[in-house]
């Protein structure tokens, strides 16, 4: 089931950043200097952006002296001092609400929410305030704020540490929602986010922090939002994913390749703005699309992708677009989470079903 079109890129095995083969948004030609984990790329990018623009500051719970519970902000306090790297009282609404004022006062805040699930404590500031201030003030008070938060399952965290809230976040007009899957994108998208004049929720893959490693371009490197990335091409089925599910999808595609099933993987990189053209291309290439996401399915972002597909590429469909996702239950406890989070097997089964084959 492979054909000439299928062109999987050679990249080190187990490495999530098969960067080439990009019909859309080809990676810039910056010299690749270093293999990094995603968390290292984030840490280096924060340092670089703070170096570049002294208005950039980092605030959150445990971001300063301890360097963040995942060490994403490690070393920043020493480099930039306690005015610009701030351990906040334990109050998420205060972290985001103060960021509004900081932004209005000329700073570029990069608040961290320790785990995305705790953004619920600040939803009135995020959805009701940060997302609307430019609009409400008709441009007078823009909100150049990048809210960083890890999310995603598979690492046996307690409640509310793993929840995937992209569906809820993308339904909030006025926020850009970005979710890198590779170390290079972690850098390129984070630089872009911090320099973006509008609020960006920057979703970091908890399981990918140290679980995903890859080459990261040196120097100034930005990835524009709304430019999806072809991780690999394939002619039978296309998987659309973002964040850590890109890695899972890539593994499933490699494994299916051994059965002569040619699967493409499209990494959306940003959900808002969405690269509609790439999504349409994904449908046109194979007519069969599988969406892989961790969230509970109802009104999750996968649903939006299906709606977007039916709107823009309905007549290219050869089968109903399908989704593999979490289930309609709260994110479960550790002993059940491997059944909840889509894994390679469930994605493979989803691909086979799309081809009307028995899993």
């Amino acid at each position: 089931m492979t054909d000439a079109f299928s062109r999987e890129i050679q990249a080190p095995l187990g490495n999530a950043t098969d960067q080439a083969a990009a019909p859309i948004a080809p990676i810039s030609a910056s010299p690749v200097t270093e293999d990094m984990t995603i968390v290292a790329a984030i840490n280096a990018t924060l340092a670089a952006e703070m170096q570049r623009d002294e208005r950039v500051m980092v605030l959150g719970e445990d971001v300063a002296i301890s360097g963040g519970v995942f060490r994403a902000t490690d070393g920043l306090l020493d480099k930039f001092g306690s005015d610009r790297v701030v351990d906040m009282p334990l109050a998420e609404a205060a972290i985001l609400g103060a960021s509004v004022g900081l932004a209005a006062g000329g700073m570029i805040p990069v608040p961290e929410i320790q785990f995305l699930g705790f953004s619920y404590q600040a939803m009135h500031q995020l959805a009701g305030q940060i997302a609307r201030f430019r609009y409400r003030s008709q441009g007078r008070l823009p909100m150049p704020i990048t809210i960083r938060a890890p999310f995603g399952g598979g690492v046996r965290t307690p409640e509310l540490h793993s929840d995937s809230l992209e569906g809820q976040l993308t339904n909030i007009p006025g926020l850009k929602i970005v979710a890198p899957a590779s170390a290079a994108d972690a850098k390129g998208l984070l630089s872009e986010a911090i320099r973006d004049p509008d609020p960006v929720v920057f979703l970091e893959p908890l399981r990918g922090y140290r679980g995903v490693k890859g080459p990261v371009p040196d120097g100034d490197y930005r990835v524009p939002f709304g430019s999806a990335r072809w991780v690999m091409s394939g002619s039978d089925v296309t998987i659309i994913a973002w964040s850590y599910q890109v890695e899972v999808a890539r593994r499933a595609a490699r494994s299916l390749a051994k059965q002569d099933i040619s699967v493409g993987v499209l990494d959306l990189r940003s959900l808002v703005p969405l690269d509609i053209d790439a999504v349409v291309e994904a449908v046109e290439l194979t007519g069969r699309v599988l969406i892989a996401e961790e969230a509970a399915p109802t009104a999750a972002f996968g649903a939006e992708l299906i709606a977007t597909i039916t709107e823009h590429a309905f007549y290219s469909l050869e089968a109903p677009p399908a989704r593999v996702s979490g289930f309609s239950t709260p994110y479960p406890v550790g002993m059940l989470e491997d059944s909840y989070v889509p894994d390679q097997k469930r994605i493979e089964a989803g691909v086979l079903r799309l081809l009307e084959l028995e899993p």
């Binding site: 005015d83 205060a94 609400g97 103060a98 509004v100 004022g101 209005a104 609009y135 409400r136 008709q138």
Partner: protein, 334 residues
Amino acid sequence: MVSTLSNEDLLAMHCEMIKARTASDRLWSLQRQGRIGTIAPIDGQEATTVGAAQALDPLTDWVLPQYREPLALGRYGPEVLNRFVAWAIGHPDGGHIPEPIRVFPPQISLATQILHAVGLAWAMKLRNERGVVLVFFGDGSSSEGDFYEAGNLAGVLKVPVIFVCANNQWAISTPTTKQTAAASFAAKADAFGIPGVTVDGMDPVAMHEVVQAARDRALDGRGATLIEAVSYRLGAHTTADDPTRYIPAAELEEARQRDPIVMFGRQLEDRGLWNSELEHDAHASAEQAIDAAWAFATNLPLRQSDLFDHVFAQPTQRQRLERASLEAHLGSTS
């Protein structure tokens, strides 16, 4: 009446209070005529806002209002009232208070602005800008978590912010006794390690004094102050509200005796600073101000597809598609 205020200041404050009341009354009757939407009158709280604003320097100090105060922020220029009227009629430009006016648009999501004020004061401190941030919020709003998180954060950061709790005794129909069992709203400052003071919010001179002291303290690097300005809501919550359902008539009547404009007018008269001629002029210029604001607001241009402006600096592809579809639709049906 002991204070640093000059006679001119005193007169300016009185005129400003009259202007606020006049504008509030006008909007009320425009609403009653069905020409604008819901309006929250300011009756009873003029002195709280005007006295506080008098202690600020509009060139350096920010004001973050809740939704009543913009009626009484003439000290920051007539544009504040213009924009407020535009806001009241539902025009998008109503939220745009132009540079360099240091006033935020009205806040509807109660208490959220208190955290914004702390962040803004923090930015000023970080950038070594001389100035303070003053934020207004109601007695009801003080029950929201955001108020406490803001007070606590300001205490920790020692930022130049002044919290003014405009205690008008009511949050819609809810009296302060159901809002808190604390000895006073000012007592909540203990939770933040900042000073808390209670002041007569119906006396503009007293207001000016405590805000001036809080401002001096803030500029001195000694951090935040919580001021409880005690007044009484003499009007309805909004045009949609019927306060006779819950306000005891006698209590309201008693409060009306303390109407800040009447009281302050008398004090000025006693000191020979006020007379019926000045009163007449003040009312005439107040009418002019609201006339001008109404003219400003109702003459603002509007296109329905403007609804897509200013979501982001640059629209997304999706927004462009939506805008095109709306324009086509409006074109085809108009």
